[in-house]
C-alpha cells in the first residue's frame, strides 16, 4: 500500500505496468486528467502538507480493511498543472474484480471530498476556485 503526494508529474502507464506485472488477477486504475474545456490554460492545486498524507493513508487503510486487496496506491499531485497532465491516480489490485472496482470507487469518492486539496482553474479571465459538488458529498453515503 502506497500514498504519494508530490508536485512532480508522474506516468500513469508506468505505474499500471508495474501493478499488472505483480500478477494480482484484477487491477483497476482511475486517472484524473486536467481537461482543456472552455479556455482553461491549466490548474493550480493547493494542499495541506501533513494532513494530506494522513487523510489519504487513513482512506487506504479503510479500503484494505473492507476489501481483500493485494495492493493499492494513491498518487496525487499539487502545485501548477498543465492541460492534459495527470492530476492523480488510484490503483487497486485484488484476486477479484468486484473488490478492485469497489475499493477504487471508494477511494475516489473519499479523495474528492475528504482529502485536503483545493483546485483552482486558470483561464484567460483569471483564476477560479473549483466549487465542491453536492453529488460528491452525496457519493460518500453509499459506503
Amino acid at each position: 500500500m502506497q500514498v504519494i503526494v508530490q508536485e512532480a508529474p508522474f506516468d500513469p502507464g508506468e505505474i499500471l505496468t508495474r501493478f499488472a506485472a505483480a500478477g494480482a488477477g484484477a487491477v483497476v486504475t482511475f486517472t484524473g486528467v486536467v481537461r482543456g474545456e472552455g479556455h482553461l490554460s491549466g490548474m493550480l492545486i493547493e494542499h495541506y502538507p501533513g494532513m494530506t498524507e494522513r487523510a489519504i493513508g487513513a482512506m487506504v487503510e479503510d479500503a484494505s480493511a473492507r476489501w481483500n486487496l493485494t495492493d493499492a496506491l494513491v498518487i496525487h499531485r499539487y502545485g501548477p498543472l498543465a492541460v492534459g497532465e495527470a492530476i492523480m491516480m488510484v490503483v487497486t489490485a485484488s484476486a477479484h474484480r468486484a473488490a478492485a472496482f469497489e475499493a477504487a470507487e471508494f477511494l475516489m469518492d473519499y479523495l474528492k471530498s475528504r482529502a485536503p486539496f483545493w483546485k483552482k482553474e486558470l483561464g484567460p479571465d483569471g483564476s477560479t476556485w473549483v466549487a465542491s459538488k453536492d453529488e460528491d458529498e452525496a457519493a460518500l453515503r453509499r459506503w
Binding site: Y48, H76, R114, A115, P116, W118, K120, V130
Partner: protein, 78 residues
C-alpha cells in the same frame, strides 16, 4: 492555518494566535471581532470546513491542547 479562498481573504497562509477560546466557534468569533478580513472570511460557516491538529472536525470541537487549527472551503481533490 488558512487554505484556498479563506487564505486569500485573510491574506496569510498561517499565523500564531494566543487564545483562550474554548471551541473552534469561539475562536472564529474572537478572530471575526478582531479585523474585517476575518469577519469576511468567516461570514458563512456552512461554506467552511475546519481541522484541528490535521483531523477534520466540527465548529463545536474543543480547542484544549490543540496546536494547529486550519480553516478551508470544502475540499476538491481527486
Amino acid at each position: 492555518m488558512y487554505f484556498a479562498w479563506v487564505r486569500e481573504r485573510i491574506g496569510v497562509p498561517r499565523e500564531e494566535v494566543e487564545t483562550g477560546a474554548a471551541t473552534v466557534a469561539d475562536l472564529v468569533v474572537e478572530l471575526s471581532a478582531r479585523e474585517k478580513r476575518y469577519a469576511l472570511a468567516f461570514s458563512d460557516l456552512a461554506a467552511l470546513r475546519v481541522a484541528v491538529d490535521q483531523t477534520l472536525t466540527t465548529f463545536d470541537a474543543p480547542l484544549a491542547g490543540a496546536r494547529e487549527v486550519a480553516f478551508f472551503p470544502p475540499m476538491t481533490g481527486g
